[in-house]
Amino acid sequence: MFYRLAGVHHTRYETARALWPIPADRKQVIVAGLIALVAPFFLSTLYLGSYMLPWLIWSSAALSLTLLMGMAGQLHFGFASVMAIGAYTSIHLARLGIPFELALIGAGAMSAVIGTVFGAAALRVKGLYLVIATLAMQYLVDWVIINVPAISGGAQATLRTPEVSFLLFPIESLTSRYYLALGWAALLAVFLMNVKRTSFGRALTAIRDKDFAAAVIGVDPFRYKLMAFFTSSFMGGVTGAMLAFCFYRAVTPEQFSFNVSIQLVAMVLVGGLGSVIGGFLGAAFVLLIPIVLTNFVAGLAASGWLAISSNLLAHVPLMIYGALIIGFLLLEPLGLAKIYDNTRKYFLVWPFRHSRS
């Protein structure tokens, strides 16, 4: 209905392979981009700072992780620790007076190196065993941060982020922090969409489907698994720094604990493995649905519709949330991205059921 394909033709293969060859898709992207750009001018500080900004940063985190889990098929249950390394590295570098831009790259590099070291486990183990190996990383990194005062600033300490500027713009006001996070999320999204079209992306897909089959067709699993861990950890490290500088502005080890890792995995799964739009949808779901549910249940309780104890009241949203995740994975194992895709195709072939000829 909205998708009009008549007259879309290509005189070069480059345009035929464009990210959005269909005008209606292009329009949607442009509208979404414009809304994101003007959001600071019409959203209240509360919504911009507590919904949009964290959503963008967690989406970036989900995108970083989906490269590893979705495209390369390597499970990672300690991704929060990767972000923690990035966050702490960037703060310490910035405190040393290193420019913020370089501090971000340093954060990424540090996470990438440490992440790759642990990722090397993936060369020997798969599936559940890899999960355990990455869990070990989570706990080791947590332990090191807490117990090395040089990193955490001492037991129970909170490290404040110093004042920095990015490309001459001071990263201080909410708006500037929002735009920085938006820029990073957009960069990651474009990067991931393009990775899928490169030989690197296709090699990752081959490894995901079966690593020794990939080896047979000439894709070196050793190299590409490590590259996947490296790339993903680099992006995760920078995202951790973004989280520290743009959102928390003061970091403690608890912000990167094990349940954050689990939430990240949930974002990627609910959103849809390996999908870019899934990263954004998954982060929105995991981040926003608990808030919406809590408000909803609290509202019901306040108006007297739901007569339960306040103790139970705190748990009801969590129960519904858990049920929703199970429900989603049962009904659409490919996640929100697949639901979006189905909806898009429903309109793409309108008024028929499938495309003809």
Partner: protein, 656 residues
Amino acid sequence: MQLETKRAGAAAQSAETLHPNWKREDHLIAVLAKNAREHGSEVAMRERDHGIWQEYDWKTYHDTVVAFAAGLDARGIGADDIVTVIGDNRPNLYFAMLGAICLKAIPSPAYPDTPPEELLGQLKREAVRVAVAEDQEQVDKLLDLKEDYAGLELIIYDDSRGLAGKEPEGVVAFDAIVAEGKARIDTEPDLAADLISRASIHDTAILLHSSGTTGVPKGIPLKHGHILSGVRNAAAAGYFRNGEVHMAYLPIAWVGDFIFSVGAALELRFTVNIPEGQETALHDLREIAPTLYFSSPRAWSSMLTRIQVGVAESTRFKRWLYERFMPFAVELERARLAGHKPSLGERLRHRVGDILIYGPIRDQLGLARVERPYTAGEAIGEDIFLFFRALGLNLRQFYGQTENCALAVAQAPDDISLSTVGRAFPGVEVKIDENGEILVRGDNVFDGYHDNPQATAEALRDGWLHTGDAGYLDGNGEIVVLGRVSEVVHTKDGTRYIPTYVENRLKFSQFVKDVCVVGKDRPHLAAIVCIDIDAVGQWAQENGVAYTSYADLSQNKAVYDLIEGLVAKLNAQLPEGIAIRRFVDLHKEFDPDDGEVTRTRKLKRDVIDDRYGAIIDALYSRDDEIEFEARITYETGQTGVLKRRLAIRDVADGKA
């Protein structure tokens, strides 16, 4: 020698006296040169190749044509040589035709699926020395014919697959000829200017052929002047505009393709788009979304079938929406044609429907940008005609013959009637003679058949073309076409009827692909029906009718019931005394390879009478079934036999 030049001079003299109003230097090549000069960088042609569209601008177009002409000239091809062109639509074939025209040679296109013996006949009749073939398949066909016809000196091929590097004697690549020509043009400075000024408006631009429904196909030469005046008449009346986007997917041997894709395309600077192949034509159509679209009633009908099948398979909600809006639009269109002005509510509902249903369907078909959709060739079913008009396409009918460039009569944009084909173009006169035959006169009417004075004398009398169609002018001066004059036949009791008229009305149903009505000197009418496998197959699926093959489905009792219903309905609409009393479902389709229909799917009645004589006799006997062996020709030329017991069904009286 002297005598010959003298005679040639006299011939040229008479050609010029025939059309004193034509200016000599106003010809297709001059128009091409003008386009190249004034609009050199605009896209003239696109061809889809491996998924993307290769573009040719007017300058490339012109340069290729001239270079090809120079190459052909070097090989001794010149005035009045006939060049056979065979293959699907390809830019190089169009360039080759125009290159030949540059040299005053005459391109003579043939259908790509012409069987070898028919092609041989054409080569011999026209004493062809050069042929341009699309690909290896056609080259092989021509090489085989060379054994029987040694006159064929040169075969030029376009698609190098399977040929490049191992060409047999006398086979040359199109590109090689162009390269030779380019080299000549580079060394001889005046050659290019000479080549584009050789042609004259009085030259024959193309030699087309009648479909050969009765006997040997006749050659129909059309001159530059005929084509240009036909196109200009049509443009003056607003039937074509400047710069249309046009889809060249119809066979190049058919008059319409040369007129649209070359004649009108040059004169009005169309962008001509060529699909990757016949199979992808519908898909490519959507990629291009032309502004001008020309299709046969049969193709419109199969498009309608495609939509109906698609909607029947669609999801419940979409189907529900379709049923809310589509029948409404059809009824509204019917009322509008009858003079009803839509109310505000109806207009509003139509707007909503346009967003929800009509627009998306037009987009799916690739007709979203079509402003001038046309149909011609035979009568179009009222249901089909109304459906596409209801869809928001201003579908109109054309009427014409190869002899008048197919540009004679058309419906005006705002004055559509279901029964007539419209009015004559400006510059074209139409009248009905005392026998009820339609006569046409104008600058677009040809000057006589190729080497066939007898047929010319029959068809052209005092400048009037005798179309052979029976018709009359209705009260508004619009032309109603009934059928072929020669086809009027009488049953035993003297009732007069035109088989095609009856057949077309039965073919309006999506379930019937072909039908042959018999009844000459018989007590009543009977029909041999070929079902449409797509539509009937879909119907069978929906109604739980199991079948294995075409032959099996055609003999199914439920299918017989279906067809009987259609025939009974038709009988009720036919005039008193004409009714199909019995019919048989044939277990194979009529196929041009078997010679039962022409390439344009017109029935060859004598072949059918001869081959299915046993069935026809059975139709007039008391039997209710017959065992029959049908001969089948495969594409390789081998023949096989399909044996089947066919049921014969009496039609219940529709008027009861």
